[in-house]
């Protein structure tokens, strides 16, 4: 099965600092994969490189069979590869419903249809997804009025609304009340199984990622350190050393 995302020897430096060095990974369609590594190992930089946030110094990226290395963020998003942000980004001045309605798949926003009102089908889908993440009662509140955890859920719902083929999640459980984490994980798995969305998840919470992912890549100092099934990576001495700072 061809991977839906193929990252090949990606390198990126900022000034003199090497953030990613010849990192390669691949994610088959329909799976949930994890990306771990200590702080500063270059995980978010890798995400930014994949979605076109900055140009890469070397290497290539293919998504759904297409070469996307030189494409810009909106173009890549329109191909069905979306990402969520570590600091959680939503449209703070708009209500939750409006946040959802503007997140319909970009292919449905043609140069004429963009001037029409949102259709009843879209409004229904928006409300259903808000219900899916538990924000239905708050749907008429401005996004900026939600709590941090609720904003994370809204961001996730917006991503689902866009019907992506693949979603890159940057620390989806960071800052969330531990009692709510299981609920979020359940929704992630549901999104993967019911909606068929491939997930690549950056996570710091080891318990979470070991439960969630089928396969894990580990970065350290900008390079790929180890990869494998969760049980293997958990026991890998190099990974343990990286986290404990022995290297």
């Amino acid at each position: 099965m061809t991977p839906i995302l193929e990252v090949h020897e990606i390198s990126k430096s900022f000034g003199g600092v090497v953030a990613n060095k010849e990192v390669s990974l691949a994610v088959p369609p329909g799976k949930i994969y994890g990306l771990i590594g200590p702080n500063g190992s270059g995980k978010t930089t890798l995400f930014n490189s994949i979605v076109g946030q900055h140009p890469v110094d070397a290497g290539s990226i293919r998504f759904a069979g297409r070469e996307i290395t030189r494409l810009r963020v909106p173009q890549i998003a329109r191909l069905g590869l979306l990402r969520t942000f570590q600091q959680t980004r939503i449209y703070r001045g708009m209500t939750c419903v409006q946040n959802m309605l503007i997140s319909i798949p970009p292919s449905q926003l043609g140069w004429r249809s963009v001037y029409r009102r949102s259709s009843p089908a879209e409004e229904r889908k928006a409300k259903d997804l808000l219900q899916f993440v538990g924000l239905h009662a708050k749907r008429h509140l401005p996004g900026g009025d939600l709590s941090f955890g609720q904003q994370k859920l809204l961001e996730f719902a917006m991503a689902l609304m866009s019907e992506p083929k693949m979603l890159l999640l940057d620390e989806p459980t960071a800052g969330i009340n531990p009692t709510l984490i299981n609920g979020l994980l359940q929704r992630l798995r549901q999104a993967n199984q019911e909606f068929g969305i491939t997930l690549l998840v950056i996570e710091h919470n080891m318990r979470v990622i070991m439960q969630l992912a089928e396969y894990i890549y580990c970065l350290a100092h900008g390079e790929l350190l180890a990869q494998g099934k969760p049980e293997e990576v958990q026991k890998d001495q190099r990974v343990l050393d990286a986290y404990l700072g022995a290297t």
């Binding site: 900055h54 140009p55 810009r72 963020v73």
Partner: protein, 299 residues
């Protein structure tokens, strides 16, 4: 374009324009440094910068009318404008310092209109000069002339700038200002009264503008509508040089002075203002496209 041909025909003309441009550029550098200071420390873009320069010019003019030599007007104007800057901060500016940048731009724009119209109403729209009574130097056997006052202004501008740098580096308030510029919250935690720092910063900026205004009144003219071109020049210099780059500000300012002088000669004096504002747009758009290649934005 005949003027352009003239430039090639008579090289001393270019030298003249170059020299005049460099000499006036130092004054631009002062005002630009003040704007960079306020921008870097307070996160505020002072659209009334040019009006502060204008008022400094009037201060020097009235001193000259009162019989005091304009060169003495430079420090006096600086002190007067410092007080004005302090007063403006305590009455208006402090309310917009922590709001978003657009509000502060609008607020200082309102101030600039207020100051401009007050000057117009109180002093009249006539053009004034503070005569300094200095002569003209003749160089290169008569090919190039330099008004002595321009040389003195150049020196005075550099001196003022140097004094400011020393102040920022050596004095306690200067260090407090630099600390606040780096991290206001940390400075507050360390016990620095950031509100006082902001008042001093704005006051110092006004003082610098006052000094440059006094120099402008001596070397050129002063009138109520002098302000906006100076604001735009300062802004251009700051975005070209970048905040915190003292040498860059000086180089960019001198370059701008020269460019303006040449443009004024080639295109004609009536297009000089158009050149300044047009150059601003060109610089911004050029920066925008060059940053876009790296997929970054001017922030």
């Amino acid at each position: 374009m005949d003027n352009l041909r003239l430039l090639f025909a008579a090289p001393p003309l270019s030298l003249q324009l170059l020299l005049d441009g460099i000499l006036i550029g130092a004054i631009f550098a002062l005002a630009a440094y003040g704007m960079a200071l306020v921008w870097g420390v307070m996160g505020l873009i002072n659209v009334a910068q040019g009006e502060l320069v204008m008022l400094g010019g009037y201060a020097a003019y009235f001193l000259y009318r009162a019989g005091i030599h304009p060169l003495l007007g430079v420090p006096v104007a600086a002190v007067l404008l410092f007080c004005l800057g302090w007063a403006l901060y305590r009455s208006v500016i402090f309310r917009v310092v922590d709001k978003d940048l657009f509000i502060s731009i609008l607020a200082t724009y309102g101030l600039s209109i207020l100051l401009q119209q007050l000057a117009n109403g109180l002093f009249g729209a006539n053009v004034r000069t503070a005569e300094s009574g200095f002569g003209t130097l003749v160089l290169l056997g008569g090919a190039v002339t330099v008004a002595e006052i321009k040389l003195l202004s150049f020196g005075a501008a550099l001196l003022t700038g140097a004094a400011l740098l020393v102040f920022l580096r050596r004095s306690r308030m200067g260090q407090a200002i630099r600390a606040t510029a780096q991290n206001a919250r940390a400075a507050r935690v360390m016990g620095i009264d950031t509100d006082r720092v902001y008042a001093w910063t704005f006051g110092i900026n006004a003082a610098i503008c006052g000094a440059s205004g006094a120099l402008v009144a001596m070397t050129w003219i002063v009138h109520p509508y002098l302000g906006l071109p100076y604001t735009v020049r300062s802004f251009m210099i700051v975005i070209l040089a970048g905040l915190g780059n003292v040498v860059g500000v000086l180089v960019a300012a001198l370059g701008l002075g020269v460019a303006e002088n040449f443009a004024g000669f080639i295109l004609g004096a009536e297009y000089q203002a158009a050149f300044i504002f047009g150059l601003l747009v060109v610089i911004l758009v050029w920066r925008r496209f060059s940053l876009a290649r790296q997929r970054r934005y001017l922030t």
